[in-house]
C-alpha cells in the first residue's frame, strides 16, 4: 500500500523533465507523512503533469483539463477524513480552470494544489502557457505572446490563499519539505512548482531556474502578509523565492460543513411537507 510500490507502470515523461522531480518530492512527502495509497484522494488534470495518474498509487481520478480543482472539492466534501490533492499544470489551473482556482481560494477548501508551471503546453507540443513571459515565441505565438504573464503568487495571495509556497523541480529536498508542510496545512495550499520542459521550452531551463531562484531565509516570517506580497510580486520580475511564502490559520470549508452535519437531526418528513399545504 505504500506510495513507493510502483505497479509496473513506467512514467512516460521525457528524460530530464521537471515532472520527475515533482513526482519524487510528492512521493517522499507522502511517505514521510505515512499517508499510504488508501488514505489519499488525488485529482489529476490533463497534461504531462496529469499523466502522473498512471504512476502514483492512490485513490485517484484523471479528470478533465482545467477541472481538477472542483473535482477535488467534491472529493473533500464526500470524504473529509481523507487527504485530497490536486495535481495540475499551469495551462490547466491558471488558464482553462482559472475561475475554479479563484473560487477555491475564497472557500479555503482543505486541498493541496500542486501546480506544474513550465510556461508551455508540453503535451500538445509546446504552445504558450499563461505564465510565459511577454514576447515568448512558441508554436501558437510565433511573433511573441502579446499578453503579460499571469502572476500566480500575487493572484492567490490577494484572493485568500491560506498556504502559499513555491518550489523548484530541480531541488527535490526542498520541494519534499514544502509539499509535506502543504499537506499538513489545514486549508487550501497552493504550491507553484517551477519546472523546465526540456523538450519545448528553451528559455526556462534548469540553468535559468538556478540563476533566478533563491531559498527563503531561515528567519523569513511567512505569517506576514505584506512581506508575502512583496515576495509574490518578485515573481513578475522573474525572481523566484523558494519556500513557504505565506501561511495563515483560518477555518476551512470542511470546518463549516462539519458544523452543518453535526446539527443534523433525525429527519421528520412532516417538517418538510408542512410548507406545501
Amino acid at each position: 500500500m505504500t506510495i513507493d510500490n510502483l505497479t509496473g507502470y513506467k512514467p512516460t515523461w521525457c528524460p530530464g523533465c521537471g515532472n520527475w522531480g515533482i513526482y519524487t518530492a510528492l512521493k517522499n512527502a507522502l511517505t514521510k507523512l505515512k499517508l499510504s495509497a488508501d488514505k489519499i484522494l488525488v485529482s489529476f488534470g490533463i497534461g504531462c503533469s496529469g499523466n502522473m495518474n498512471d504512476f502514483l498509487n492512490a485513490y485517484a481520478i484523471h479528470a478533465l483539463h482545467g477541472r481538477s480543482i472542483p473535482m477535488a472539492i467534491g472529493m473533500k466534501i464526500a470524504r473529509p477524513d481523507m487527504t485530497v490533492i490536486a495535481v495540475v499544470g499551469d495551462g490547466d489551473c491558471y488558464g482553462e480552470g482559472g475561475n475554479h482556482l479563484l473560487h477555491a481560494l475564497r472557500g479555503n477548501h482543505d486541498l493541496t494544489v500542486i501546480v506544474h508551471n513550465n510556461s508551455v503546453y508540453g503535451l500538445t507540443t509546446g504552445q504558450t502557457a499563461p505564465t510565459a513571459r511577454q514576447g515568448y515565441r512558441s508554436k501558437s505565438t510565433p511573433l511573441g505572446i502579446i499578453e503579460r504573464p499571469l502572476n500566480p503568487l500575487s493572484l492567490a495571495l490577494t484572493q485568500g490563499v491560506s498556504f502559499l509556497a513555491q518550489a523548484s523541480a530541480g531541488n527535490v529536498v526542498n520541494a519534499t519539505e514544502i509539499i509535506t508542510q502543504a499537506i499538513k496545512h489545514q486549508g487550501l495550499s497552493l504550491v507553484n512548482f517551477l519546472q523546465p520542459c526540456v523538450t519545448f521550452n528553451k528559455v526556462y531551463t534548469y540553468d535559468y531556474f538556478k540563476q533566478h531562484t533563491y531559498l527563503l531565509e531561515r528567519d523569513y516570517n511567512y505569517r506576514d502578509y505584506n512581506l508575502a506580497l512583496q515576495k509574490a510580486e518578485e515573481y513578475s520580475q522573474e525572481k523566484f523565492a523558494l519556500g513557504v511564502i505565506y501561511q495563515e490559520k483560518r477555518p476551512t470549508y470542511t470546518d463549516y460543513l462539519n458544523k452543518l452535519t453535526q446539527t443534523k437531526k433525525a429527519l421528520d418528513y412532516h417538517l418538510l411537507l408542512q410548507e406545501f399545504s
Partner: protein
C-alpha cells in the same frame, strides 16, 4: 366542478404570493388544484399572472375559459378578454379603466379608494382582490386570514392584521354590493391532507427521499427553486448544498463527490447544461454515477428564460462527446417527478452512468395537488439501491473496469483499506491505467455499451397508455410535462365521440425499438404533440423505432398547450 381563477398585474406587486395563497385556500377547502405562472424575466415592471384551476376531482391541466379574472391593471383585461365567457366575472376598478365588453359579469371594486381610505400601499390591492374573489365563490374568509397569519406572523401581528383588514374590506365589498352574483363554488368539503407541489418541489423531495448527500447548482431559471429548497432544508436533512462558481464547477464537483462515494446531483437549465456537457462525457468514461436535473426553457442561448418549451430532448440524448450510455427520463407530472427522480438516483448507481431528469418550465413551476399520503407512503417504501458495490475483495488487486457480462463492473468506494485504484478520463485497461491498445479500447467500449442492453432488460419502462387503446381511433403521442394537458384532451375527445388514447413517454432514452413498434404501428390515426418546433420525439421514434408519425401539433411560442387547442386541432384534422 371545474373553476378557473386568474390574477394579473404589474411585476413586483406580489402576484406570485397571492396566487399561491389562492391555491392553498382551495386545497384547504378540500379541492384539487393545478396552477401556472406567467412572468417576464424581470424583477419589476412587465406583466405577471397566476392562474389556478380548481376541481373536486383530480386535475392535471389548465382550461381555456376563465371564470374569474382579477385585473390589477388594464393589461390583464386586454390580454385575457378572448378567454372570457358571458358567465365570467371580472374584478377591476372602474376608476382606473373601463371594460369594453358588456357580455361579461363586471365586478367593480374601488381598489384606489380603499387603498386611500385604509392608507395602504399599492401592493395591498392583492389582498382586496383575494377577499373579493373568495366572497364571489362562497369561500371561507377565515382560511385566508389563517394563511396570512402563517405568512406574516414572523414579521409582526400588526402586519398580519393590516393585511387581513384589506382582505376583509374586499370580501365585504362583494357581500354588500353584489350579493346576487355570489355562487357557492368553493364550499368546504372533507378531504385527506393534500400538498401543492411544483415539479421542482417534487424533484427536491425525491432527492431527500433518495438520500442524496450532495446537491450542487448555479442558479438558472426555471431550475433555481430546487437549489433554494434544498439549501433551506439543509439543517433538517444534513444534505450538503453548494452554489458553485459556474456550471462547469457544479458538475465536476458533483463527480468528485460521487467518485468518492456520495450520492450526488446537479440542477440547471439549457445554457448551464451546455456548459456541463464535457463532464457528462467524463462521467460516461469514468463510470461515475450522477443525476442531472434539467428544467427546459425556450432557447437558443438565453432564449425566453421564464417560459416553457421541450426543446432539449435530442440535445440531452446526444449530450457529451464520444459514445457512452446515459439514461434520459422525463416525468409527466409531480407524482411521476417524485417517483422517477428518486428512481433516477438508483439507476445512476446501478448503471454507474449519468441519468438526466428532464423537466420543463411548465412542470417545474406549476403547482399540482398531490395527496400527502402518496408522498409519505412512497418515502417509507423507497429503497436505496447502490448497485454492485464491493468493500471486501477476494483478490489483492482490484479492477475498477473489470469486463463483465452485463457491462457493470463492481465498484469499490475509495477509502477502503488495503486498496487503491484510479478512475480514468483516458481510455483505460481493466485496472484503470491509460491504454491506447486497440483491443483493450474495444473491450471497454463494448463493456460500457453492454450497460444499455442490461438497462433495457432490467429497468426500461415502456410509455404508459391512457384510455382504451384497442378501441381508440385517435392516438395522441407525447412526452414529459405535456402529460396533463394531453390526458385532458384525450378525455374530452373520447367524451365527444372520438375514442382516443394517449401514449406518454417518460423513459425516453435508451429506447427499446422492438417493443415499441406494435404500439406505434396499429391501424390508428396518430397525432404527435410536442412543445417544440422540430418534433424531437418524432425524430427519436423514427431513429429508434423506424416509424414516422406524420401528423404533428407543435407549439413553440413559449406557452404550454391548452387541452382545448389539442381537441380543436384533432377535430379539424380528423372530422369529416
Amino acid at each position: 366542478m371545474k373553476f378557473t381563477w386568474k390574477i394579473g398585474g404589474e411585476a413586483g406587486f406580489g402576484i406570485m404570493t397571492t396566487g399561491l395563497i389562492f391555491s392553498k385556500i382551495a386545497l384547504r377547502h378540500g379541492y384539487q388544484i393545478h396552477d401556472f405562472v406567467e412572468y417576464p424575466s424581470l424583477i419589476r415592471g412587465g406583466h405577471n399572472t397566476y392562474e389556478v384551476t380548481v376541481s373536486n376531482r383530480p386535475i392535471s391541466a389548465p382550461k381555456y375559459t376563465i371564470d374569474l379574472l382579477v385585473c390589477l391593471n388594464e393589461d390583464t383585461y386586454l390580454y385575457h378578454k378572448k378567454r372570457l365567457t358571458p358567465q365570467s366575472w371580472v374584478i377591476y376598478d372602474k376608476e382606473e379603466f373601463e371594460l369594453e365588453q358588456n357580455n361579461i359579469v363586471k365586478i367593480d371594486i374601488p381598489f384606489s379608494k380603499i387603498l386611500t381610505d385604509l392608507q395602504g400601499a399599492a401592493v395591498m390591492k392583492n389582498m382586496i382582490a383575494l377577499g373579493s374573489s373568495l366572497a364571489l365563490i362562497g369561500a371561507d374568509l377565515k382560511e385566508l386570514k389563517k394563511i396570512l397569519s402563517e405568512e406574516f406572523s414572523a414579521k409582526s401581528q400588526a402586519v398580519v392584521e393590516f393585511n387581513q383588514s384589506f382582505a376583509e374590506k374586499g370580501y365585504q365589498e362583494v357581500r354588500k354590493r353584489f350579493p346576487s352574483l355570489i355562487k357557492s363554488f368553493l364550499l368546504k368539503q372533507p378531504a385527506p391532507a393534500t400538498l401543492a407541489l411544483t415539479g421542482n418541489d417534487a424533484f427536491s423531495l425525491a432527492s431527500v427521499i433518495a438520500q442524496c448527500g450532495f446537491y450542487c447548482a448555479y442558479p438558472m431559471t426555471p431550475s433555481s427553486s430546487v437549489l433554494t429548497n434544498l439549501a433551506s432544508w439543509q439543517d433538517k436533512t444534513g444534505m450538503i448544498v453548494r452554489h458553485s462558481e459556474d456550471e462547469i464547477a457544479v458538475i465536476n464537483t458533483a463527480l468528485g463527490s460521487a467518485f468518492a462515494g456520495m450520492r450526488s446531483s446537479v440542477g440547471t437549465s439549457g445554457g448551464g447544461f451546455a456548459l456541463m456537457v464535457e463532464a457528462i462525457s467524463l462521467a460516461g468514461i469514468t463510470e461515475t454515477p450522477v443525476v442531472i436535473f434539467l428544467a427546459q426553457r425556450p432557447g437558443p442561448a438565453t432564449g425566453m428564460p421564464t417560459w416553457t418549451e421541450q426543446g432539449d430532448l435530442l440535445f440531452t440524448i446526444f449530450s457529451g462527446h464520444g459514445e457512452f450510455p446515459k439514461i434520459v427520463l422525463a416525468p409527466g407530472d409531480v407524482e411521476e417527478m417524485l417517483k422517477i427522480a428518486a428512481e433516477a438516483y438508483n439507476l445512476a448507481d446501478i448503471y454507474q452512468t449519468p441519468v438526466i431528469i428532464l423537466s420543463e418550465m411548465f412542470l417545474s413551476e406549476s403547482h399540482q395537488s398531490l395527496a400527502q399520503k402518496t408522498v409519505v407512503d412512497f418515502w417509507q417504501q423507497y429503497q436505496v439501491k447502490r448497485g454492485k458495490l464491493v468493500d471486501k475483495l477476494a483478490t489483492v488487486s482490484y479492477k475498477r473496469y473489470q469486463i463483465t457480462q452485463d457491462g457493470i463492473s463492481p465498484r469499490l468506494i475509495p477509502g477502503v483499506q488495503g486498496y487503491y485504484y484510479q478512475a480514468n478520463s483516458y481510455e483505460h485497461l481493466e485496472d484503470g491505467h491509460t491504454t491506447e491498445i486497440g483491443e483493450e479500447r474495444k473491450k471497454q467500449v463494448d463493456k460500457r455499451n453492454a450497460k444499455i442492453l442490461t438497462y433495457l432488460k432490467q429497468d426500461f419502462c415502456l410509455p404508459k397508455i391512457y384510455g382504451d387503446f384497442a378501441q381508440a381511433e385517435l392516438v395522441l403521442v407525447g412526452w414529459g410535462g405535456t402529460k396533463g394537458v394531453l390526458l385532458e384532451a384525450q378525455r374530452i375527445l373520447t367524451k365527444k365521440n372520438t375514442p382516443t388514447a394517449l401514449i406518454h413517454f417518460t423513459y425516453l432514452y435508451p429506447l427499446d425499438g422492438e417493443k415499441l413498434r406494435p404500439l406505434l404501428t396499429a391501424k390508428k390515426n396518430y397525432l404527435l404533440v410536442e412543445n417544440n418546433s422540430t418534433a424531437q420525439l418524432g425524430k427519436l421514434i423514427k431513429m429508434e423505432v423506424g416509424v414516422e408519425i406524420k401528423n404533428k401539433l407543435l407549439k413553440y411560442d413559449g406557452r404550454m398547450f391548452f387541452p382545448e387547442e389539442i381537441v380543436n386541432f384533432a377535430e379539424k384534422k380528423y372530422d369529416n
